[in-house]
Structures are given as C-alpha cells and as structure tokens.
Amino acid sequence: MRYLSEYRDPEVARALVRQIRETATRRWVLMEVCGGQTHTIVKQGLGELLGDAVEMIHGPGCPVCVTPLEQIDKALALAARPDVIFTSFGDMLRVPGSDCDLQQVRARGGTVRVVYSPLDALALAQAHPDKEVVFFAVGFETTAPANAMAVYRARELGVPNFSVLVSHVTVPPAMRAILDAPDNRVQAFLAAGHVCTVMGWTEYEPIAAQYQVPIVVTGFEPIDILEGILLAVQQLEAGRHEVVNQYVRAVTREGTVPARTLVEQVFRLADRKWRGIGEIPGSGLVLREEYASFDAERKFGLEDLTVEEPAECRAGDVLRGRLKPHQCSAFGTRCTPEHPLGAPMVSSEGACAAYYNYGRYREGEALAMSRESAVGSRQ
C-alpha cells in the first residue's frame, strides 16, 4: 500500500526512537489528543519502545469515550421507537447508556443500522419516507463537515424524515480545560492531524503562546507519531513553545476552507458536557436555528433529558491524565470491556481498555518470570 507502508517502516521508526531517546535529557510528559493516535501507540507498542524518554498520556480525543451519558440515553430512547431507523458509526453501538446499549436495543426490536457516512443515512431516509431516520452525529471537527453536509443536503432536498442527534465536540476548549487544571502534568501536545486537516492550526497558536506548551500537528501512522514526539521533545529541550506541523501531507495552516465554511453555516458553538469531565464552555457544536427542524432532540422532545454520571467511574480523571486506568478501584473488576462502567473501557482506543489488555500482559510476564526463577533457584 503506497502512502501507508512508508509511514510504517521499521528502520525509520527505530532511527526516530533512537533520536528521541538521545534528545530527551529528562522524562517529558506528552499528551496525544486523538483516539486514533492512541490506537496506533497501543497497537504498535510504541510506549514500550520509548521507554523512559517520554510518558504518553492518552487524551480526550476519542469521540466514543467523551460522548456524555445523556446523549447516549437519548440515542437509546430514539432507537427504541418503532417509527425510527437509528443510524450510527459502528463503535457507538457498544457504548453503555444508563441501562443498556444500542446493540441491546436492537435485540429488543429497535432498528439500528451501522453506516459509514451520514450521507448514507440521508439516502436511507429518502428510501424509507414512512420512517424517521435519525443519525447519531458524534465526533470532533473531523466528522463535523460530513455531518453538516448531510443536514445541509437534507434541507436542500427537502427530506423531512431525516434528523440528527448532535453530540459534536471541539478540541481547543478541551486542551484549555486540561491546561487550566491545577494538577495538570501535560507539557506538550500532539494535536490531532485529521481535526487540523479541516480546521488548520490557527486556533492552537494562542494556546501554545498563552500556556507555553509546544503543540505538534501530528498524523496517525507510527512514523508520524514518532516524528511528532521528536518535534515536541526538541522544542521542550530548547525551551520553545510553538505550533509545528508534522502532518504536512494533509494539513495547512488555514485548513480546508470549504469544509470549515460549511460547518460554520450549519453549526454554532455551544457549551457541551464531556463524559467523565463535565461541561466545558463553548466546546460543542449544535445546529443553527435555520436547521432546527433537523434536530432530533427538538423533533422528539428530548431536550430536557439529563442524566448523572455513575460516581464510581473515574473516566474524567483518566481522560485528564490525573489517574492511570489501573489505579481506579473498579478497574478490571467491576469495570471490564465486557461490562464497562465508562466509555474509556468501551472503545478499542479508550485508555482503560488499552490498559486492561496491556496491563494484564505485563502481569502475565512478571508471573511467568517469577515462576521461571523459582524453578531456577531449586536447581
């Protein structure tokens, strides 16, 4: 696969790891913002390769993880309605709401369909004029243009039986919230490449300047991430704090202007709850008034539904990098990928799920080694 294999080259990766280790004079704490980057780090075992040079904190950039419980509960209520075909990206299906998830709603007779694009959901609405088709519009700035396009097209084509349940969030306010926390440990960010493909990086320049943190716009392949880490560590060592673009093959400073324009046309900024973190002012996108008829919450009278998060789940501390997943008292016992209390245990890119696998492996290794040494000492 061209344009992919070259960003996974083991030789290049090893050279970058060596360079990072040589550059770092101390252990720096970096946060990768995006869940896709977390996925690569875990899947490729990058944390292990970096050793003591860098500590990676997995950021809040997994849309599955941060979608608040009440939006999930609204999704479940909509999906259970006999007149609704509920459509969603695949990995939202297993996110637990207050008492079940979308897969269970489907098993009980609800119609839930996985789509790869909100435009497929719109086509479904046109094909089923007797049904209400609702799309679960989640994600960061990355998925916002396509979701905006679906709503824009629905209005243009006059598809009255299409609506969206919006749970959009934006990255910069979350980064500010993390940096504002009194016990913040993050010293530099890898910004999410795909978010910046849409938005560019002008929004990050004031953050880097105000908080004096280096921000590196970074891609998603192993070489991208290692290069992003190196660029951040070089800045930290030199005492610089700039916005640097590693993901040059996709991102420009201004981003993709037509996509941004469309997003601004359809959505406006609003306060938004983040699962486990709470409300972050101005961090969400909601439909503008002229598109209100496509807002599923208004259409089905769900605006007033509010839900308290379970007290035992400390997802917020994990997502802020304050608590390592295995330090949570519910970890691995009352909270597992099969029965998750909170979203970071659900998604394959969630920090808790990643630790659940990796942590148990480490324990297994330690156990086997102690067994082997016990055998050795008897001989």
């Binding site: 695949g90 989640v138 148990r360 086997a368």
Partner: protein
C-alpha cells in the same frame, strides 16, 4: 395486434403453478415437496444411500472411533465472490472433522428455505454444494427440507452434520499446544470475511477479494502422514478470525502464544479493505485456512507437507508457543513493540476515525 390481444383475452386462464420460486407448498409434505426433492435435490446429490429416502440412513463403518460434528450456516448474501452457502455448508463441517484429524466420510443436509427463494439461486447453491461434497469425498446420506414464510429467513439456512473416521494415534486438539511448538498457518488470512462484508448492504465497497472457502482435509492428511502424533494442534480460524482461534488454544492448553507481525500472511487487498473499514484482519473470518502447532524441530517438515498441496502453497510460520504470558496471545509488531491480541467482546465494530 388487436386481434391477437382479443384472442389472448378469451383464453381460459389455467391455474398458475409458479415454477421459478420456492412456495410454502414445497414444505407441505405433499406433491410439491416430493417434486422439490425429485427435481432439485436428488439429481445433484443422489447416491445409493440417499436414494433409499428412508427415515434414517444406514451406514457401514469400519471398527474404531468416529468423529461427529454439526454446524449451521447463515450467511447474507447467500452467494458471494468465491463461493456460496452451499460451499460453506460442506467445507465448514468437513473442516471441523478434519481439525480433529478425522477423515470426513458422510454428511447430513438440513435446509430451511424461505418462501420466494428463486429456484435459480437454489439450483446454483445445490450444484456448488454437490461439487464441494464430491471434491471432499463425502457422501450426503440423509436430509430434510422445510419452508418458512417470506420474511422469516434470509433466503435459506443450511445445517450439515458430518461423520469422520478418527485415526487411532493422531489426535490433534486445542489443549495439546506445548511451549516450543511452532505456529504455522496454511495460507493468506481474512479473505472470506472481507469478501462477504464488501457485499453487505450500505457499504458499497468495490473489491476483488474472493472467499477462501475450501476443503482442508487434503492438507490435514498430508500433515498427518508427515508428522503422526507430533501434530499437536489443528484449528480452522473461522468466526472471530486467527486471533480468536489462537486465543482459544492458548486458554485450552494453558500456554502463551507469541506472534510475529511481519510474518502474518495478510493479502494486500484484505489489508487495504480492513484499513478503509477500520477493521483488524486478525479478527476477520476464514473458511479455507488452518493453523497447526507442531514441535519447532518438525516445523520444516510440516511446512513441506502443507506446501505439497496447492492450498498450502503459501503456508508459513507465524510464531511460537511459549511458557510466558499463559492464556494470552501477544504480537511482536513490525516496529519491535508488543501488544496483546485479546478476544473481542462481541462483533468487530468499525471505528469512527
């Protein structure tokens, strides 16, 4: 023209016996049922045992132990690039027997048909099924057909139960993996699952991937002859893919399995399709691939035995059985890191980003 129309208007309409689709009457046990059997099933599948049409088949078996396995096949769509439900129904059960080291001999065939299924589709599936059975050297000795109302089934469901003859000495099993065994795989992984997924409603995904559905017994016989009792483990990684099969073996044998990512045979088109859909090929179904575990010293002999057959031409060693991390499958990545390959809690779900 007008006269012709007038003439046809005067014709007395004969009762229409639809002869291009399955009707509920085909399951009634009456004339239509008999016709279904006589016209569609027996010409393709008939043999001296089945042709007796008794309530049960009578089989003459050599003395010794037999292996018995049953499997039910539900796949949407019924036909896909590289095969159809008929091929799966034979290969699935034959392969389950073969993984026990048993030589597949007889199959039963139970079919649930949905009202409205075109006979053209049924005929194609039965022809494939008959060809697959003949190719695998198994005889279909008894069967059953039922018809359910339209909307109550996905076209057709098939159940096959197979009888195989066990070898007195060679008894591979998931519990027999030992530290020091080499892990071998007989061919490229992920093809069946991706071939079927590409056709699913809503994906609109164009690809040239074909299913790998195949009879694995020739590979097993070849391994059995070359290795005898050293053939510790055989498994066909169907649902849940290679990852899930290896996980089961690690648990059943109480061993760890260490995989080498660069050695995994993932075809370029499967890798690309998985990349686009956000799926991991390690969890995608196969229908014509086997995993074998044999002592490392015999790995080359086993690979030679596999490669002697076209189906095993690209077989390779992908890892080893270890005494560490018992019950777990750990992958060494191309970059030199490691990660745990865990069981999925449910179906593999595509990721958002």
């Amino acid at each position: 023209m007008i006269e012709t129309l007038a003439m046809s208007g005067l014709t007395c309409p004969a009762p229409v016996a639809s002869n291009d689709r399955v009707q509920l009457g085909h399951g009634s046990g009456g004339k239509l049922s008999a016709a279904l059997l006589r016209e569609r099933f027996l010409p393709l599948l008939g043999n001296p045992i089945l042709d007796q049409l008794g309530d049960a088949a009578i089989l003459a078996l050599p003395t010794g132990e037999i292996a018995l396995s049953t499997d039910t096949f539900v796949v949407r769509p019924l036909e896909f690039p590289g095969g159809n439900i008929g091929a799966l129904a034979v290969h699935g059960t034959v392969n389950d027997l073969a993984m026990m080291g048993a030589e597949p001999r007889y199959l039963t065939l139970g079919v649930v048909l949905e009202e409205g299924l075109p006979f053209a589709v049924l005929d194609r599936i039965l022809a494939t099924l008959a060809g697959a059975a003949a190719g695998a050297g198994v005889t279909i000795v008894t069967g059953d057909t039922k018809v359910v109302e339209r909307g109550r089934a996905d076209g057709m469901y098939v159940n096959t139960t197979g009888v195989g003859l066990l070898h007195p000495l060679v008894r591979p099993g998931a519990h027999r993996a030992e530290p020091g065994d080499a892990v071998l795989v007989s061919g490229p992984i992920g093809r069946h699952g991706m071939a079927v997924m590409a056709l699913r409603e809503g994906l609109e995904f164009e690809t040239t991937i074909t299913s790998d559905t195949a009879n694995l017994w020739p590979l097993v016989r070849s391994l059995r002859d070359a290795l005898g009792a050293c053939l510790h483990v055989l498994r066909d990684p169907t649902r849940g893919g290679l990852a899930s099969a290896l996980h089961e073996i690690a648990s059943a044998s109480g061993v760890g399995i260490a995989l080498d990512e660069p050695a995994l045979p993932i075809p370029g088109d499967v890798a690309a399709a998985c990349e686009m859909l956000g799926l991991d090929p390690l969890y995608v179904a196969n229908e014509g691939v086997l995993v074998a575990m044999v002592p490392a010293a015999r790995a080359d002999a086993a690979l030679a035995a596999l490669r002697a057959h076209p189906l095993g031409a690209s077989s390779r060693r992908i890892g080893e059985v270890v005494a560490r991390h018992r019950g777990m499958v750990v992958l060494r990545t191309a970059l030199g890191g490691t990660r745990v390959v865990d069981l999925l809690p449910g179906d593999q779900l595509p990721r958002i980003c």
